[in-house]
Structure formats: structure tokens, C-alpha cells
């Protein structure tokens, strides 16, 4: 397998890989389709603003009774909240409408239609849909993070911004890997259509810095289920709480998570092929 699924336009021997053409065509189609439903844009923005509002009020309740959460002060946690929302945008725009549908398709057998296509199945399943309206969450989330940085009085250096960029991209890869691992479970536990709920439950943990949790949970979030790498680490890179070197560590974690997910996907797929004959 020489293709990469990261979607960064890597060339193979000077040629744009075919799956990238396929992807571009699919997304063009999606965008054209979504543009017909502009009311959804307003509904989506309203939903996001409401979500950010309740999250800020929740923080206000916590900070009524404390000055720090796991050693982070209020605006630092708001930076993290911005990162959380930006990442939520990536999840809702690409991952949930794509790979999030897998569990149901394994159950109904519709996956056959995907596997019979002459493209890499994992890449196709993962990136076939783009819900563009939810990309506004990315903009709103990053805007919130920028505002919180301003309130903190912290102007990130170019190096910190670069580290954040790498850490955020790594966070997207880690989240993607978690989705792939969870969805691969569908090949073993066929009767579970709502596997995506398991992701939602885990991702709830990413709303707050991991240092705010009791020791056992913190260990789990850093080393076992890498939730810490989704929001705590990118936010720390942005506020300068962690040095820019953390970007490299985050990239390494992302590569490891991706490799593991790819390996599990291939094993799971063998099972499916075996099962259907």
C-alpha cells in the first residue's frame, strides 16, 4: 500500500494518486448538494454558538468556586475550549458523515458496494463526505481560542504557532485513529449500530485539561485512550505551557496511532471478506 490517507496531496512518482481525484470529485458533489440547503448553515452556526455558550457557562460555574482547574486558569481553559470546538468541526464535517456510518453499513452489508470500488477502501470510507457547514465550527473555535489568548495577554511566537499547527493536525489524526479503531469493532460486534456513541462518550473527556482529572483517569487519557493529545496538548502548545518541542512528540503519537488504526482496519476487513464468502 503506497497511498497515504492523510490527504495532503502526496505525489506518487510525480502523479496525483487516483484516490485524490476521486476525493475531489466526491467533495465537489457534496458541496454542490449542501449549497442547496443554506438554512442548514444558520442552524449549524446557531447550534455551535449555543454549544460554546453552554460550555462557557459551565466553566463559569466551576470557576465560581475555584481559581484554577488542574493548574489552568480560566482563559487557558477557554483556549482549550476553542481547540475543542475547532476539532469538533473537523469531526462533524468529515469523520462522522464518513467513517461514522461504517457500523451501520457493516450490519446492513452495504459495505460490499464500497469494497467493490477500485479505490483504497479505508480512504474512501473515511473521506467520502464533507459536511461543509460544520467547517464553520473550526473557524468559530479558532476565533474563540484567539480571543482567549488575547485575554491571557499571550502573543504566541511563530515557533509556538508552528507547534500548535503540528499538534492540531496530529490531534485530527489521533481522533481519526480513534474513530477507525471504534468502527473496526463493528466487524466483530455486528449488532451495534450506535458505536459512534462510544466516541462521543470518550470525547466528552477532551473538554477539560487532563490535569484536572484524578490520577488514574489522567493516565488513561495520556497513554491508553489518547484523549490528552486531542485538546490539552495543542492548547498547551498555543499558550506556551509546553515548549514547541511538544509538536514533534505529538506528530510521533499521531503516526503511531495512525499505523495502529490502519493495521486494525486491515485485520477487520479480512474478517468481513471472510464472513461474506
Amino acid at each position: 500500500m503506497t497511498t497515504t490517507t492523510a490527504g495532503r496531496g502526496k505525489r506518487e512518482g510525480g502523479r496525483v494518486p487516483r484516490w485524490l481525484h476521486v476525493l475531489a470529485a466526491l467533495w465537489r458533489l457534496n458541496v454542490a448538494e449542501e449549497l442547496q440547503y443554506r438554512a442548514n448553515f444558520f442552524a449549524s452556526v446557531l447550534g455551535t454558538v449555543f454549544g460554546i455558550g453552554t460550555a462557557l457557562l459551565t466553566l463559569a460555574v466551576f470557576f465560581r468556586h475555584t481559581t484554577r482547574l488542574g493548574g489552568w486558569d480560566y482563559w487557558e481553559v477557554v483556549v482549550l475550549l476553542g481547540v475543542f470546538n475547532a476539532l469538533t468541526g473537523v469531526i462533524e464535517a468529515v469523520l462522522r458523515p464518513g467513517i461514522g456510518q461504517l457500523a451501520g453499513e457493516v450490519r446492513s452489508g452495504q459495505l460490499d458496494l464500497v469494497l467493490s470500488r477500485p479505490v483504497d477502501a479505508q480512504a474512501f470510507v473515511s473521506f467520502r463526505r464533507l459536511d461543509i457547514w460544520r467547517l464553520t465550527d473550526v473557524a468559530l473555535g479558532l476565533g474563540l481560542a484567539a480571543y482567549a489568548l488575547h485575554r491571557l495577554g499571550h502573543v504566541p511566537s511563530a515557533l509556538e504557532l508552528a507547534a500548535f499547527g503540528v499538534a492540531f493536525a496530529s490531534a485530527a489524526v489521533v481522533v481519526y485513529a480513534i474513530w477507525v479503531v471504534l468502527m473496526s469493532l463493528a466487524f466483530w460486534l455486528v449488532a451495534v449500530e450506535n458505536l459512534s456513541v462510544l466516541f462521543d462518550a470518550l470525547y466528552e473527556g477532551a473538554r477539560y485539561p487532563v490535569s484536572a482529572y484524578p490520577g488514574v483517569l489522567r493516565f488513561v487519557f495520556v497513554y491508553l485512550v489518547p484523549i490528552a493529545w486531542t485538546t490539552t496538548i495543542p492548547a498547551s502548545a498555543l499558550t506556551g505551557r509546553l515548549g514547541p518541542g511538544i509538536g514533534l512528540v505529538a506528530a510521533a503519537v499521531a503516526i503511531a496511532a495512525f499505523a495502529l488504526a490502519r493495521w486494525l482496519w486491515q485485520r477487520a476487513l479480512k474478517r468481513y471478506t471472510g464472513a461474506s464468502g
Binding site: F50, T54, T58, V61, F62, L69, V197, Y208, Y213
Partner: protein
């Protein structure tokens, strides 16, 4: 189907049916249950950390543990998904064959709720008992009268949340955004029902609004009754009175929405 015996037989059949359907989806139900307890578990984690420096407005770490364990149980026993079902029934026409039956579809929904809550409530109760066996902070003082009163308040809260969810779901007769309204309600209940923190920890003005509206009676009141935060006497009587009034109001809302919606639905159907 006349008389009390007839109703018992009808409900027994409906509940049995719902129980068997749920049995097929037990893995999926387990995941929903897990999802339902994450939010309180994470809130508990945060309050646990905050209370490490000393009690917060009278709540020590152990109080938070008991509050959020009670929240997990009471929420599971009172949550109602009926808005989402009704929205689908109305939009996709699944309501039609239900209307053709000689039984109001609301009874099927009630039976579904009873079967679902019996199954999942027992699991959460068992987890709580196991936790209490090894963790003294999760133990409740044994007060049978309190527990009996809490059971009553939980039944009242379950009925109220059922009618809130059902009446809101019926808005699907008029709008395609009925479930969005329910999400909005869930967002508000995060604070006003006591899902993120005991009401005593909110700004007094907010906690006051929660007591005037129905939110407090959805979760906070039964939980506080169970953990002992509601003193005997006046506060207790006022709590039950508030719950009964709001239950009556939401029941009336359901009746109005149902009778008007059905007329409208019939008109569209031809």
C-alpha cells in the same frame, strides 16, 4: 379493553414486547447507558479536583460522589427519548399504522419507557452498590422513609420528563426542528436541572429560576431528596407540590398538542 384488568393485560403485553425488542439491542442500549453516565462522571471528576482544597459551598468530596452517583441513577430512570421517536414516526409515516390500532400510541411509548428503565436502572443500581461496597464515599445513609419519598419523586420526574419529551416531539406535526428544540431544552437543563452541579452551587438567581420553572423537578429535587439535601417539613412539601403542578401542566400540553396535531395530520393525509 374495558376495566382495570383489561389495562393490566394490555400493559403487560406491551411491556413484554418492549422488553424482548430491547433484548435484541442490548449491546446498543449498553452503549447509550455508558454515554449517559459519562457527563456526570466527568463533572464528578472536575468537582472532585476542585473540592480537593476543601469543601465547596458545604459540599465535600464525598457529597459530590453521592450527588453524581444519584444523578446517574435518577437520570437513567427519568430520561425520555420520545421526542426523537415521535419526530421519526411523524416525518416517515410510522405513525400511520400506530393510529390504525385501537390504542393510543402514547401507551406503547409508556410501556417502552418502563421496560427500558427497568433494564438499565437495575444495571446502574448494581454498579452503584458495587462501588459502595469498596468505596465508603459512595455509601448512602440507610433511611427507608427518605428512599420511599425519593422513589415517589423519581416516578413524578419520569412522568414529567416523558410528557415534556412527548409533547415536544409532537411539534413535528408543525416543524422539522422538533428535536432541535429538545436539544435546546437539554442544554438549558444542564444548569437548571442540576446536571453540571448541585443547584446550591449555582448563582442564587439561576437556582431561583430553576425552582420556579419545571427544571428542578426533573432531576435536582429527587436527587436532593435521596442525598438528604432537602430537609423534612416545608421544603419537602413545597417540592412535591411544585412537581405535581408542573406535571399537570406538561400533561395538559401533551393533550393539547396531541389533539390539535392529529387533526392537522389527518388533514394533510387527505
Amino acid at each position: 379493553m374495558s376495566g382495570f384488568g383489561g389495562w393490566i393485560r394490555t400493559y403487560a403485553a406491551l411491556i413484554r414486547n418492549a422488553w424482548l425488542v430491547d433484548l435484541q439491542y442490548r449491546a446498543a442500549i449498553g452503549l447509550w447507558m455508558l454515554w449517559g453516565v459519562t457527563e456526570p462522571a466527568i463533572a464528578l471528576g472536575i468537582w472532585w479536583a476542585i473540592a480537593g482544597a476543601g469543601p465547596v459551598a458545604g459540599y465535600a468530596r464525598g457529597d459530590f460522589v453521592r450527588y453524581f452517583f444519584a444523578l446517574m441513577l435518577v437520570n437513567q430512570l427519568t430520561i425520555a427519548w420520545d421526542s426523537w421517536y415521535l419526530d421519526r414516526w411523524i416525518r416517515e409515516g410510522d405513525l400511520n399504522f400506530r393510529l390504525a390500532r385501537p390504542l393510543n400510541p402514547v401507551h406503547e411509548a409508556v410501556a417502552d419507557n418502563i421496560a427500558y428503565k427497568a433494564r438499565t436502572g437495575v444495571v446502574i443500581l448494581a454498579v452503584w452498590l458495587l462501588a459502595a461496597a469498596v468505596w465508603p464515599a459512595a455509601r448512602m445513609p440507610i433511611q427507608p422513609t427518605r428512599w420511599a419519598l425519593a422513589v415517589l419523586a423519581v416516578v413524578g420526574a419520569a412522568m414529567m420528563r416523558f410528557f415534556i419529551s412527548f409533547a415536544t416531539g409532537l411539534l413535528a406535526f408543525w416543524t422539522t426542528r422538533a428535536t432541535a428544540i429538545m436539544e435546546l431544552h437539554a442544554g438549558v437543563s444542564l444548569f437548571l436541572a442540576g446536571r453540571i452541579a448541585p443547584l446550591a452551587l449555582l448563582p442564587p438567581a439561576v437556582a431561583g429560576i430553576a425552582g420556579v420553572l419545571w427544571f428542578r423537578y426533573m432531576l435536582a429535587f429527587p436527587i436532593d431528596l435521596l442525598t438528604g439535601a432537602v430537609p423534612d417539613g416545608d421544603a419537602l412539601r413545597r417540592g412535591f407540590a411544585g412537581q405535581i403542578i408542573w406535571l399537570a401542566i406538561w400533561f395538559a400540553a401533551y393533550r393539547v398538542a396531541w389533539s390539535r396535531g392529529i387533526r392537522r395530520y389527518g388533514a394533510v393525509g387527505g
